[in-house]
Symmetry: C2
Subunit: 199 residues, 2 copies
């Protein structure tokens, strides 16, 4: 086989390190990038460096930000008596998109998962407890995913919080809007039945 | 919704410009990159800039290279009497991986496609004809994809080459190795029957 181009191989390696990207897609991305106008490709490179250098965690809620505090923690109009606990910064965006939540957030940056070697100490759980030390916060909403890891993390944290006299709630589980009962799994239907409400 | 981070949005835009990547995957890539160790993310950025600056087309065959000529054109051991014409540099790699071809290449960088506004003048067809001007080349293998655009480009180029007295051949079409007749489409089976050979 003809000698390969080392820089090209490194570029393919970089793309292949992204989640869900195999060698074939990575090589497609790499060739696409080499086909781009040069200024556009160089901008891609600069944006990566800039983003990685400027974006860091908010010291209060550990969401991502490019200023001192994240926009949510900085916003005087947000309700400081509620904290919504999520797994990662993407989940903050998902909840913000509903335009229905006006409280604060706390990003754990992971879930407790003994199989992956992630214990409570690797997450920002201690920092959450510290935020509850004055009496401002009245409710903590556990908004981790309804998976095994998400549920057990929610239970673990709620056990730590309850003794402090703060209300802990959990996102509702059930059939998604627009969903189809026929295709819903037994566990989801069971939870939907359990959580039924009067109309 | 909370103020978004402009650099993060630009990073997502960059990833979303890659082929087959939607906003959701792009945002997943962006957050993954922000989670990477800083040196790894900065290397990603550098490799993109470096690759885009150093990798260019080979002046002879228009394949990609980071030196004066591409490794194939530079290799004294390659058979200079055969040129294999392909759509893009990825196809060169595919054919090289067979370890069965020892001739030269010519990369068109596209296919004739009037619907997409791509005519023969936008491809490196003129440069291919120029390469045939001395009598070194005895055969041109048309290895464009067996699609409508690939076939018509092959036919167009073969009509230009034949008057020069150079043999033009085409890749065989048929049932792929390990394939299943039951799942092969009619056109593939028809071509496989037409191209049958004695055993």
């Amino acid at each position: 086989m003809a000698g390969t181009i080392p820089t090209l191989e490194r570029l393919i390696d970089c793309f292949a390190s992204l989640p869900g990207v195999g060698r074939k897609s990575a090589s497609r991305f790499a060739y696409f990038l080499l086909d781009m106008p040069e200024d556009q490709a160089l901008e891609f490179s600069e944006v990566i460096a800039e983003a990685r250098k400027n974006i860091h965690q908010c010291p209060v809620c550990h969401n991502l930000t490019d200023s001192d505090k994240c926009p949510v923690c900085d916003d005087e109009k947000r309700d400081r008596s509620v904290i919504c606990v999520v797994e990662n910064p993407r989940d903050v965006n998902s909840i913000e998109r509903t335009h229905e939540y006006n409280g604060l957030y706390h990003v754990l940056h992971g879930l407790i998962s003994p199989l992956d070697g992630v214990g409570p100490d690797q997450l920002y759980i201690r920092q959450l407890i510290t935020r509850l030390s004055d009496d401002t916060v009245k409710e903590v909403i556990m908004a981790t995913n309804p998976t095994v890891e998400g549920e057990s993390t929610a239970v673990y944290i709620s056990k730590l919080i309850k003794p402090l006299g703060v209300k802990v709630t959990r996102l509702a589980t059930g059939v998604p809007v627009g969903g189809n009962l026929e295709y819903a799994d037994e566990m989801t239907l069971y939870k939907a039945l359990q959580g039924r409400s009067e109309i």
